[in-house]
C-alpha cells in the first residue's frame, strides 16, 4: 500500500580503501542516482588519504572503519551487520567499491531487471573502464570444465556486442546487486577468497542455491580493474598469478566431491612442482613462485572445511544445473589461441618491423650455407678418414672415454679422482660435457669423440653461418664466415693434438654469440646462452675471463634487459664452484685455467706467431710441409703471413668503412682473444714429464679468429662491387692456410691415432675385470732427462677420469715420491726391495711405452726390468713392453664416489636442479616474445652487433 512497502529497500554499501580521488566521484554518482539507495553504509579500510572524511560527509547511515587489509567481502559483511533489521523479503544489497562510480540510472536499471524476474538472486552491471568509459572492463565470469576462471569480456570496446547476455555463472563484486536474504543464506563472500574469484564463488553458490545470476547491460558502473587491484592501484604479474592460482585451488577443494578432496589435496604440491616446470618451459619464470606458494598455502589453509560446510548447507540443486553455464573446453582453447595471436601481432613492434623489412636476408640453402656445410663436412671426413671404422681416438690430450654411460656420469661432481695418485675433490667441469657427449652414443661412449672429429668442421661452419647472418645483411658473407671459421687454424691445431675441450669450445662459440645476442629478448635464448657458456667455459677455461668481459659489455649495453641476461653465467658458476673453491683453498688459482683432458705440453709460440693463428709455434706446419717438397723452410713465415694477410687487412679495413662501430666491437673481441692467447702461453699450470705445461693458447686464438672473421665480413659487406673478388680471395687464403694442418693425419704430425678403446694392454684389462683396482706402473723414458712415472688403476684413467686438480698439483705428495723412488730403482739394476713396495702399492703390472731405438734410458730401463727376477716379462703390446708382478693380493680400493659423500650428493642435486631448470627454460617453445615497451627509433646506429636486427 505504501510505496515504501512496494518499493524494495536498497542498502548500498560503499567500501573505500585509500581511494579518495575516485571516491568523491563515486559518492557524487550515488547521490545522483535516479533511484537513490534507501540506506547508504560506508566502510573505510583504514585509508590514509582522507577517504574517511569524504565518507563522513556523504550522508551515509553508518560510516564504519575496518582494519587495513580487510577484504572487500569482509568489509561488506561488516557493513551488513550494521544495517537495520530485515523488514521484508525485497531487500537488496548494492555493493560498490570506491572506484565504482555508477551511471545515474544504474541502480534503477538493475532494479528494473530483478523486479521482473523473482528468481534472480544477483544482478551485475556492465563494468566500464574508468580511464576509457567506452571500453568494457569486465562483464560476467564463468569457469571452464576444469574450474579455471574465465572472464567473459576483457577490455573490449563497447559496441553493444555483449548486450544480449543475461544469464551467467558469475558477476563481479563491483556494482553487484544481491538479494539480502541470499547474502545471509550464503554467508557472504568466502573468507578463503580475499579478492579474485570471491564474487564468482559467491555467484556459483547462489546458482547452486537455486537463484539466477544475470547481467544487466544497461546498467553501467565504472571500474579501475580487477578485485586484486582494489586499494592497491597496481599489482605485479607474479602477485596476481599467485592470488588467482590460490583462489582456483581453494575453489577446487571446496567444490570437489568429498571422496576426491583427499586426492586433490595430495596432488596439490606435486602438481605445483610439475606446473612450475611447465612454467619454465613456457617461459613464465615469474609464475613459478606463485605456483608453489599457492600450492603450499592452499594445502595448509584452514578455510576449506568451513567453506565446504557452508556450500553444503546452502546448496539446493546439483552441479549439473550450472553445467550449461560453464565454458566448453573448445571455446576456452580458441579464446587462448586468439589471445596469443593478438599479442604476437599487435604488441610486438619488432614483428611489424620484420614484416615491413624489404631487404632480403641470406637463406641457408639459397645463399650457400647448406653447401658450405656439406663441402666442409666432406673435407672433414677426408681429413680424418683414418678414423673411419674406429671406435675411439687416443693420443695427444685424448684418451678413450669410460666404457659405460653410468661410469661417465660417475665422474662428474665431487668424489674420488682416480688419476695419478688420486685425490678426493671436484671433477673438471669438462667431465660433465664428456658425460653428455658420451651419452649421445650410449652404446660406445668413446665413439662420440670420433663423431666429433668428423663433424667438428661442418658444425663450426654451420654455427658461424648463422652467427654471421645475425651481424650482416650481405647474402654471401655468412658462407664466407662459415668457411673461415671451419678452417680456422686453432680448431685444426686442436684437432691434431686431441684437445677435445678446445674443439668443443670452438664449435660452440658462434652459437654462444648467437644465443647471447638473443638473450635480451628471449628466455629461451638466455638459457641456451647459459648452457653454451657453461660448456664453452668447461672446454676452454682460459677464455672465461675474455668471455666475462664480453658478458659485462652485454649487460651494460642492454641495461633494461638485465633480468634476462644477468643469469647467463649461473650454470657455469655452479659447474665450476667446487673446483674453484678447492683450487683457491690449495692456493693454486692459476690451476683453474688448465685445459681439461690428458696433460699435454704445447709448444711456445711467440707474439707474431700467435697473431697468425699459430698456437704451437710450428707456423701451422708450413715449414715441415715445405721442406718435404724441397722448398727451404725460410719461405714458410712469408707464405703464412701472406695467407693470413687478406683476413687481417680486411678486419682492420673495417675500421675505415661505414659501420665502424660494429667493427670496433669485433676487433675488441679479437684483441681480447689475442691477449688471452699471449697470456696463456705465459701461465705454467703444471708439467708433462720434464716439459712445462702451459695453458693452450689455441682457445684464445679461437676468440681472436672470431673477432677477425666478424670484422672482415663487416668490411667486405661494405665494399660494394668488390665483394666477389675480395671474398673469394679471403676464402681461398683461409683454406690454403689450413692445408698442412688438414694433412697432419697423413704426414704423421698429428698426435692422435685410432684406438681400440683400451688404455692399457689387453692382459691388464682382463685382470682389471676381476680386480678393478689392479695397479699398473707406467714408466716411460724421457731420453737424457730421466724417466717419467705414473700409476694407473684398473682399466686405466680414461679421458673423463682426468682431473686438472691432479695435473696442476704444485708439489708431489707422499705417494708420488714413493712412485718416483720405485721407478728410479726399477730403471736401473738396484738392490731395492721391489716386491715389498710393489705389493704395498698393489702394482701387478709394469708398462714401458715404446721409445726411439737410440734411447739409452729406454734401453737401460728395459734391461733392468728384464733382468729383474721378481718380474715376469709378458712381451710387447700395442702400448709398450709389459711385465707382470705376481703380487699376493691387490688391496681393494675404497674411495668415495660422487654420491658417496653427503657433500657430493647435495652438489649433484644442486647441479641437477640448476641445469634441469636451464634446459627447460632453453627449450624454445611456449611463451611469447616480449613486447617492446618503447621501440627505439629504427634508424639509430648501434654500438654492438645485435642492433643490426631485432628479429
Amino acid at each position: 500500500m505504501q510505496p515504501r512497502s512496494v518499493q524494495p529497500r536498497i542498502i548500498a554499501v560503499v567500501v573505500a580503501r585509500s581511494g579518495a580521488d575516485r571516491l568523491q566521484r563515486t559518492l557524487a554518482a550515488i547521490a545522483a542516482q535516479t533511484r537513490a539507495p534507501d540506506i547508504l553504509i560506508a566502510v573505510d579500510g583504514s585509508s590514509k588519504d582522507g577517504s574517511e572524511a569524504l565518507l563522513s560527509t556523504a550522508g551515509a547511515t553508518h560510516v564504519l572503519t575496518v582494519r587495513d587489509g580487510t577484504s572487500f567481502g569482509s568489509s561488506v559483511a561488516h557493513a551488513v551487520s550494521f544495517a537495520p533489521p530485515v523488514e521484508s523479503d525485497g531487500e537488496w544489497l548494492w555493493l560498490l567499491g570506491h572506484d565504482n562510480a555508477p551511471d545515474p540510472d544504474a541502480l534503477s536499471r538493475l532494479l528494473g531487471a530483478v523486479e521482473i524476474a523473482p528468481s534472480v538472486g544477483i544482478a551485475g552491471p556492465k563494468l566500464m573502464s574508468t580511464e576509457n568509459p567506452a571500453v568494457i572492463s569486465e562483464f560476467g565470469q564463468t569457469i571452464s570444465r576444469f574450474g579455471a576462471t574465465v572472464s567473459l569480456v576483457d577490455d573490449e570496446l563497447d559496441q553493444a556486442q555483449h548486450d544480449t547476455r543475461d544469464d551467467v555463472l558469475g558477476v563481479s563484486a563491483a556494482g553487484m546487486l544481491v538479494r539480502r536474504s541470499l547474502w545471509s543464506a550464503l554467508g557472504g563472500f568466502d573468507p578463503g577468497l580475499p579478492s579474485i574469484d570471491a564474487s564468482l564463488d559467491f555467484s556459483i553458490r547462489a546458482r547452486l542455491a537455486g537463484y539466477r545470476v544475470i547481467l544487466v547491460p544497461a546498467a553501467r558502473v565504472a571500474s579501475d580493474g580487477g578485485p586484486e587491484l582494489f586499494g592497491r592501484g597496481q599489482s605485479s604479474a607474479a602477485r596476481t598469478f599467485r592470488i588467482a592460482r590460490a583462489a582456483q585451488l581453494h575453489r577446487r577443494l571446496v567444490y570437489s566431491p568429498a571422496w576426491a578432496v583427499v586426492l586433490h589435496w595430495l596432488s596439490l604440491v606435486p602438481l605445483g612442482v610439475v606446473r612450475a616446470l611447465g612454467d619454465l618451459v613456457g617461459k613464465r619464470p615469474s609464475a613459478i613462485g606463485g605456483e608453489l606458494g599457492a600450492a603450499f598455502s592452499t594445502a595448509f589453509s584452514a578455510g576449506i572445511g568451513v567453506a565446504r560446510r557452508n556450500l553444503k548447507r546452502s546448496r539446493t540443486v546439483g552441479w549439473s544445473a550450472i553445467a550449461p553455464l560453464r565454458m566448453p573446453t573448445s571455446e576456452v582453447r580458441e579464446r587462448r589461441a586468439q589471445a596469443r595471436e593478438a599479442a604476437l601481432l599487435e604488441s610486438d613492434p619488432s614483428n611489424a618491423r620484420a614484416l615491413a623489412r624489404t631487404e632480403p636476408r641470406a637463406g641457408f640453402v639459397s645463399n650457400g650455407g647448406f653447401w658450405v656445410v656439406v663441402l666442409v663436412g666432406i673435407v672433414g671426413v677426408l681429413a680424418y678418414g683414418t678414423f673411419l671404422g674406429a671406435t675411439a681416438i687416443s693420443g695427444g690430450a685424448l684418451r678413450p672415454l669410460s666404457a659405460s654411460v653410468p661410469a661417465l656420469w660417475g665422474n662428474i661432481g665431487i668424489g674420488w679422482r682416480e688419476v695419478g695418485s688420486g685425490v678426493f675433490g671436484a671433477a673438471d667441469p669438462f667431465a660433465a660435457v664428456l658425460a653428455v657427449l658420451g651419452s649421445l652414443t650410449f652404446w660406445a661412449p668413446s665413439f662420440s669423440v670420433v663423431l666429433v672429429y668428423f663433424l667438428a668442421m661442418p658444425l663450426s661452419a654451420l654455427g658461424a653461418w648463422f652467427a654471421a647472418r645475425r651481424i650482416t645483411r650481405s647474402l654471401w658473407m655468412p658462407a664466407l664466415a662459415g668457411i673461415v671459421w671451419a678452417f680456422a687454424p686453432p680448431l685444426l691445431a686442436a684437432l691434431a693434438s686431441g684437445r677435445l675441450g678446445a674443439i668443443v669450445a670452438h664449435i660452440l662459440l658462434p652459437w654462444l654469440v648467437l644465443a647471447s645476442l638473443g638473450a635480451a629478448r628471449s628466455w629461451a635464448s638466455g638459457a641456451a646462452a647459459a648452457l653454451l657458456f657453461a660448456a664453452v667455459a668447461a672446454g676452454a677455461p682460459s677464455i672465461v675471463p675474455a668471455l666475462l668481459v664480453l658478458f659485462v659489455v652485454l649487460l651494460v649495453t642492454h641495461p633494461t634487459r638485465i633480468h634476462r641476461t644477468i643469469g647467463i653465467p649461473i650454470p657455469a658458476i655452479v659447474l665450476f664452484g667446487p673446483l674453484v673453491v678447492q683450487q683457491m683453498l690449495a692456493g693454486n688459482p692459476l690451476g683453474l685455467l688448465a685445459d681439461p683432458g690428458v696433460p699435454l705440453a704445447s709448444g711456445s709460440a711467440s707474439g707474431w706467431q700467435l697473431a697468425l693463428g699459430d698456437a704451437t709455434g710450428t707456423l701451422l706446419g708450413w715449414p715441415a710441409a715445405l721442406s718435404s717438397l724441397g722448398i727451404p723452410g725460410g719461405v714458410a713465415p712469408v707464405l703464412v703471413i701472406g695467407l693470413c694477410a687478406p683476413l687481417v687487412i680486411l678486419a682492420l679495413l673495417a675500421l675505415f668503412l661505414p659501420g665502424a662501430r660494429r667493427a670496433i666491437f669485433a676487433l675488441f673481441v679479437a684483441f681480447l682473444g689475442y691477449a688471452t692467447a699471449v697470456l696463456a702461453g705465459l701461465v705454467q699450470v703444471g708439467a708433462v714429464g720434464s716439459e712445462p705445461m702451459t695453458v693452450w693458447a689455441g682457445s684464445g686464438l679461437s676468440v681472436f679468429w672470431m673477432g677477425l672473421t666478424a670484422a672482415a665480413i663487416l668490411a667486405i659487406g661494405s665494399l660494394g662491387r668488390a665483394v666477389v673478388p675480395v671474398s673469394t680471395l679471403a676464402g681461398l687464403a683461409a683454406v690454403a692456410l689450413a692445408i698442412p694442418l688438414l694433412g697432419a693425419m697423413f704426414v704423421g704430425t698429428a698426435l692422435i691415432h685410432p684406438s681400440n678403446g683400451r688404455i692399457l694392454p689387453a692382459l691388464v684389462s682382463a685382470q682389471a675385470a676381476s680386480s678393478p683396482s689392479v695397479g699398473t706402473l707406467v714408466v716411460s723414458s724421457l731420453g737424457e732427462t730421466g724417466v717419467a712415472v705414473r700409476l694407473e688403476r684398473g682399466l686405466g684413467a680414461s679421458l673423463d677420469d682426468q682431473s686438472t686438480l691432479v695435473s696442476t698439483k704444485r708439489a708431489p705428495d707422499a705417494l708420488d715420491r714413493r712412485l718416483a723412488v720405485l721407478a728410479g730403482n726399477l730403471s736401473a739394476r738396484s738392490g731395492f726391495d721391489y716386491s715389498g713396495e710393489l705389493t704395498s702399492l698393489g702394482v701387478s703390472f709394469i708398462l714401458v711405452p715404446g721409445a726411439p731405438d737410440d734411447d739409452e734410458t729406454h734401453r737401460s730401463l728395459v734391461d733392468a726390468l728384464d733382468g729383474n727376477e721378481s718380474l715376469t716379462p709378458v712381451g710387447t703390446t700395442t702400448t709398450g713392453l709389459l711385465w707382470r708382478f705376481e703380487a699376493s693380493t691387490t688391496p681393494p680400493s675404497v674411495h668415495p664416489t660422487n654420491t658417496g659423500t653427503s657433500l657430493g650428493s647435495w652438489y649433484l642435486v644442486a647441479l641437477g636442479i640448476v641445469f634441469g631448470v636451464t634446459v627447460l627454460l632453453a627449450i624454445p617453445i611456449g611463451g611469447r616474445p616480449r613486447a617492446h615497451r618503447n621501440p627505439a627509433p629504427t634508424d639509430e646506429r648501434a654500438e654492438t652487433f645485435d642492433e643490426e636486427e631485432h628479429g
Partner: protein, 501 residues
C-alpha cells in the same frame, strides 16, 4: 637554402670520413702495438714448472763378466765336435775404486770339466757412500795344437743389445760365439749375422735360450759358413748377456794366432777405435804374399745396418802428432759388411775414426808376424819368407769416457794405454795406479797419445772429457787389445718426473 644544406652535408661527411680515418689509424696502431709488445717484450712466466725427484737407485752388486779361457769345439781328441772345451786358464786382473771385488766362477758351463768363465762382483758400500767403479780384464797366452797366440779382453757388463765386429769363417778360420748369462733369469737371444753378402739367413739364430748363470758357445760357421767378414748382432730379452767372439787361425797346419774380443760401441755416427797397432808392415807385406796369409794385412770392417747407401769418412790419427790425420770417403751399401785393407799404413799406433751419415759399427784387425831372418833382405832376394810366428788382434770402437773411469791391465807383454781426445777442447787425464803415484797427460783436441802401463795393475783415469781409451799388448808373436768402458750406469742417479694422467 639547398646550397647551405649541401654544404653542411658535405662538411658533415668530411668530418665523418675524417673521424673514420682517425679511428682506423688508432685501431691499426693498437693492433701493431699489441703484436709488437707480445713479440718483443720479455714477458714473465708464472706458475709452477716440472716437478721432479732425483732418485739414486739403491746400490746393487756390480758385476763384470770375464770371457774365460780360450775354447775349442770338441775335445782334444776331436770328439764331441759340438761341445766347447776350455784350453788352459786366463789370468784376471781386477780392481775397484771402493771396496774389494770378488771373483767367482759362473755356475754352469756346457761341460762340467771345463774351466768356467768368471765374474767379478763388487758389493755395494754403505748407503750414501759414493758407489765404487769396478773393472777387470783377462789375458791368456795359449800354445796348444792349433791354438797359439795371445788374447786379452775386458771383463764386460752384460747387455741386451750387442754388436760384435770381427772374425771369419773361411777355411782355417774358426770363430766361436760365446753367450754368457750371469743373471738370475733365463735369457732369450736372437742373433743376426751380417756378411759381405748381406744378412745371412740361417736357422737356429732365433730363440737361443741361455740359462741363468750359464754359457752357450756356438761356432759361427754353423750359422754362416764361408764368410770372410761377419758382424754379429746379439739381442737378448730376459736376462742380459755378455757376448764374445773368439777367432783362431790355422793356416794349413800352422797356427796363425788367437784373439778373444768383446763388444764395441753400438751403431753410431762416429766410431773411434783407439790404439790400432801396426807393426812390422814390411814383414806383413812380405808374408802376406804367401798363400793363405792374405789376412795378415790390417783391415777395417764397417757395417751400416739398414738399407740404402751411406757416405762413410775414415780417418787415421797417428799417436803423438796432432791433427796430422789422413782421411778418405767411401760410399757403402747398407746391410753389407765391407772390409778395407789397411796395408799401406806405416808402423805405429793409429786411432781410426769412422764418421757416417747413418750409424755404423766398426772393427779393425791388425797382425804381427815374425819372419826368419831380416825381412828387408828376404824381400830384396825375392825368396819366399819363412814365417816363424803370427798373431792378430781385433780392435773395436771405444765408448766415450767423461770424468772418471777405471782400467785394469791384465798381464801381458808391454801393455800401453791409448787415449784419444775426440772433443773440441784439449783435456787432461790423470792416470793414477791404485797403488799410488801417477801421471797426468794433456791431450789436444783430436789428438791421441799412448802411455806405457804396468801389467797386473789397475789405474784410475780422471778429469777427462770426451776421451776414448784402449789398452794394447805387443810382443813377439803376441798382439792383443781391449777398450776401456765407462763406469756402469747402475749407480747413477735418475731424475724421475711425475705424470698425472
Amino acid at each position: 637554402m639547398a646550397e647551405r644544406e649541401s654544404k653542411a652535408l658535405s662538411g658533415r661527411s668530411i668530418a665523418i670520413a675524417g673521424a673514420r680515418g682517425v679511428v682506423g689509424l688508432i685501431g691499426v696502431g693498437i693492433a701493431v702495438a699489441s703484436v709488437a709488445a707480445a713479440s718483443l717484450l720479455p714477458l714473465p712466466t708464472v706458475g709452477t714448472g716440472p716437478g721432479s725427484v732425483v732418485v739414486t737407485p739403491v746400490a746393487a752388486t756390480q758385476q763384470r763378466i770375464c770371457a774365460g779361457p780360450v775354447l775349442r769345439l770338441g775335445s782334444d781328441t776331436g770328439q764331441q765336435a759340438t761341445t766347447a772345451n776350455s784350453i788352459g786358464r786366463a789370468e784376471v786382473t781386477r780392481a775397484a775404486t771402493v771396496g774389494t771385488p770378488s771373483l767367482e766362477n759362473l755356475d754352469a758351463t756346457q761341460n762340467e770339466k771345463n774351466v768356467p768363465p768368471q765374474r767379478l762382483l763388487l758389493e755395494p758400500g754403505e748407503t750414501g757412500e759414493e758407489p765404487g767403479i769396478l773393472a777387470g780384464s783377462q789375458s791368456q797366452f795359449v800354445s796348444a795344437d792349433e791354438f797359439v797366440g795371445f788374447a786379452a779382453s775386458e771383463c764386460a757388463a752384460p747387455s741386451s743389445d750387442s754388436w760384435l765386429v770381427g772374425g771369419s769363417t773361411l777355411t782355417g778360420r774358426t770363430t766361436l760365439l760365446a753367450l754368457t748369462n750371469p743373471s738370475k733369469v733365463s735369457s732369450t737371444v736372437n742373433l743376426t749375422v751380417y756378411s759381405e753378402k748381406g744378412t745371412v739367413a740361417a736357422s737356429g739364430t732365433d730363440g737361443i735360450i741361455v740359462p741363468p748363470g750359464g754359457q752357450r758357445v756356438f761356432s759361427l760357421a754353423a750359422f754362416a759358413p764361408d764368410i770372410a767378414s761377419p758382424v754379429v748382432h746379439v739381442v737378448s730379452t730376459g736376462g742380459q748377456v755378455t757376448a764374445t767372439l773368439q777367432q783362431s787361425i790355422l793356416r794349413t797346419l800352422t797356427p796363425g794366432g788367437v784373439d778373444v774380443f768383446g763388444v764395441g760401441t753400438r751403431p753410431s755416427r762416429l766410431t773411434v777405435i783407439p790404439g790400432v797397432v801396426t807393426v812390422g808392415h814390411q814383414s806383413v807385406e812380405a808374408a802376406s804374399s804367401l798363400g793363405g796369409y792374405g789376412d795378415l794385412v790390417g783391415t777395417l770392417r764397417v757395417l751400416v745396418p739398414g738399407t740404402g747407401s751411406t757416405d762413410v769418412t775414415v780417418s787415421a790419427i797417428p799417436e803423438g802428432a796432432s791433427g796430422a790425420a789422413s782421411s778418405s770417403t767411401l760410399t757403402l751399401e747398407g746391410g753389407i759388411v765391407t772390409d778395407f785393407p789397411l796395408g799401406d799404413f806405416p808402423d805405429g799406433t793409429w786411432t781410426l775414426t769412422v764418421a757416417s751419415e747413418r750409424p755404423a759399427v766398426v772393427g779393425a784387425r791388425s797382425s804381427t808376424v815374425t819372419l826368419a831372418g831380416d825381412p828387408e833382405k828376404s824381400l830384396a832376394s825375392g825368396a819366399p819368407p819363412v814365417v816363424v810366428s803370427t798373431d792378430f788382434a781385433w780392435f773395436v770402437g771405444a765408448p766415450e769416457l767423461d770424468g772418471r773411469a777405471l782400467v785394469s791391465i791384465a798381464p801381458g807383454p808391454s801393455p800401453r794405454l791409448h787415449l784419444v781426445n775426440t772433443g773440441t777442447e784439449s783435456t787432461s787425464v790423470a792416470i793414477d795406479p791404485l797403488s799410488g803415484g801417477g801421471t797426468t797427460v794433456t791431450i789436444d783436441a783430436g789428438a791421441a797419445v799412448a802411455v806405457p802401463v804396468a801389467p797386473a795393475t789397475s789405474y784410475t783415469l780422471s778429469g777427462m772429457t770426451s776421451v776414448r781409451a784402449s789398452v794394447s799388448y805387443l810382443g813377439d808373436g803376441r798382439l792383443a787389445g781391449f777398450v776401456v768402458s765407462p763406469p756402469g750406469r747402475a749407480s747413477q742417479p735418475v731424475t724421475v718426473f711425475h705424470q698425472y694422467g
